[in-house]
């Protein structure tokens, strides 16, 4: 499966409300160097990440920076086990899924 097929998929809660789109997939490196999926980053606003702003280590108070952070406010991480089903029309989350912060440590 292609990562780009996962990206931009609509993300829907159990009761059908859309909470945003998949903008990234977070993996963790295991002992053998394999990259295992830990969760998906969902952004309720723009369909695609714009200049990687929501997680870039930008700290200079550039006006552009503040505008782009605003554009990306509210993106969050969903653990992979919280994903219930993948359909052609979107990605369905489980009941009571967790919303974690999306910024990279």
């Amino acid at each position: 499966m292609l990562l780009t097929e996962l990206l931009r998929m609509r993300v829907v809660e159990v009761d059908g409300t859309e909470v945003g789109r998949v903008v990234d997939a977070r993996f963790r490196i295991d002992a053998q160097g394999g990259a295992r999926l830990v969760g998906l980053i969902v952004s309720p606003h723009t369909r695609a990440p714009f200049l990687g702003y929501e997680r870039a280590a930008l700290d200079e108070p550039l006006v552009l920076d503040r505008f782009l952070r605003w554009l990306h406010r509210g993106s969050f991480l969903v653990d992979w086990p919280d994903v219930r089903r993948l359909d052609d029309d979107g990605l369905h989350l489980r009941e009571g899924y967790e919303r974690r912060p999306s910024t990279l440590p």
Binding site: M1, R26, F27, R28, R36, L37, R85, D88, L104
Partner: protein
């Protein structure tokens, strides 16, 4: 400095932000390709996923006109034309993706080798360093 065998265990990697559209360098630092897409384990569609099953992994880095073309202009690239670089070749994810092998040994560099052998390599002076 022997290149690390693979990225540091425990480290988190955001595929779109840190892998997709990143420059891939071979063991000698020579550019090979840019990551046009990432292949992960297939996720079944329309089926209840088992939360305890093993999560998907990154299997290959993909590149080439078929993959990039469909990404830019839509459609789905025929799997036969995916140029794959196995994820096990990746040693580091930094401002570029570094590999533990040389460009010439990857099938992803066949166009470079074709142009080298049929065109540029044939022009006098093509094979030695600028003096």
């Amino acid at each position: 400095m022997i290149p690390r065998p693979h990225p540091e265990p425990g480290r988190l990697v955001d595929a779109e932000f840190q892998v997709l559209d990143r420059q891939v360098l071979d063991r000698n630092g020579e550019p090979v390709v840019t990551v046009d897409d990432v292949e992960i384990t297939d996720i079944p569609r329309g089926v209840e996923l088992d939360p305890d099953a093993d999560a998907p992994v990154i299997e290959n880095l993909l590149s080439g006109s078929a993959v990039l073309g469909t990404r830019l202009f839509g459609g789905r690239p025929p799997e036969s034309r995916w140029q794959r670089i196995r994820w096990s070749h990746v040693t580091e994810i930094g401002t570029a993706v570094e590999l533990n092998t040389t460009a010439d040994r990857l099938d992803a560099s066949w166009t470079e080798r074709w142009v080298r052998n049929h065109l540029i390599g044939r022009i006098p002076g093509g094979r030695h360093a600028p003096d």
